[in-house]
């Protein structure tokens, strides 16, 4: 019985650590490197603040009044938000000068410039289902899905390159 209790403790600890590790690294770090993801951190704080403000009424369970709780935009998200200006989550030195990361895919009209993998950008698999997109030696983002379907590079009319990430 004592042995079983100890084993339960061990596996609980391991299970919790896996959850915490994945959550922490999703929020705080980019590409599994040690650079802190400022936008992810800001997003985490914002989500906690939003959750703290939600008017949950657990005692009366009167959820009809709690419309805020059902607003989809207030749900916490694991995807770090990226601003279109270069003061975003990624250190400025990592972003090529003529490249922008698109925060809202719908704002940009896609053109027929979807590159094939290995042609315009080098895509490396970091771990199962995690890809890193690199140009030269610079790594500037990763996608969490199959690389073929979720990455597009778009060249705008003024020559600006936009890296388009299609999250789902």
């Amino acid at each position: 019985m004592i042995k079983m209790k100890k084993n339960i403790k061990i596996f609980t600890a391991i299970f919790i650590s896996i959850l915490v590790t994945v959550l922490l690294s999703n929020y705080l770090f980019l590409n599994g490197t040690t650079s802190i993801n400022q936008a992810g951190l800001a997003n985490l704080v914002k989500n906690i603040q939003t959750l703290a403000k939600l008017p949950f009424n657990w005692l009366t369970r009167n959820n009809k009044k709690n419309e805020l709780a059902h607003t989809p935009s207030l749900r916490p998200t694991l995807i770090p938000t990226i601003n279109q200006d270069q003061s975003s989550s990624i250190a400025p030195s990592l972003i090529p000068t003529n490249t922008y990361l698109s925060p809202i895919p719908s704002l940009i009209t896609p053109v027929n410039a979807t590159p094939t993998i290995g042609q315009d950008a080098k895509i490396t698999q970091i771990a199962h289902g995690v890809y890193s997109i690199q140009q030269g030696n610079v790594t500037f983002f990763r996608v969490n899905k199959s690389a073929n379907a979720y990455y597009k590079e778009i060249t705008l009319t003024n020559g600006t390159k936009v890296l388009f990430f299609n999250y789902e």
Binding site: K6, K9, I10, T12, A13, I14, I16, S17, I18, V20, T21, V22, L24, S25, F29, N31, G32, T33, T34, I126, A127, H128, V130
Partner: protein, 98 residues
Amino acid sequence: MKLGPFFFDTKELFLILLAGLVWLARYFGWEIPLFDLQKLLLLIVLFLLAKGLLPAIHNENFLILAFFTLFLSFYLVELQLVLFFVITLILFRFLKVI
């Protein structure tokens, strides 16, 4: 085995032997299916460090943690592996497993 002021038990000797083998595999470019040699080297260093600091009475818990970390290396990147290892050790301490 006693080397100067240090005493190495069997598991530590095997870990050191494994580190040598992994280093050789990296040097000669041999590939181990499913495992990344750089991650393996990192894990071996972590294991040796933890093994050196933990009393022998906790060997069994350490072995379970080591196996989990090893198999998680298929999916997680280096930083996440280190995070997992450290967080689990802290949780073990909090839950009074070690």
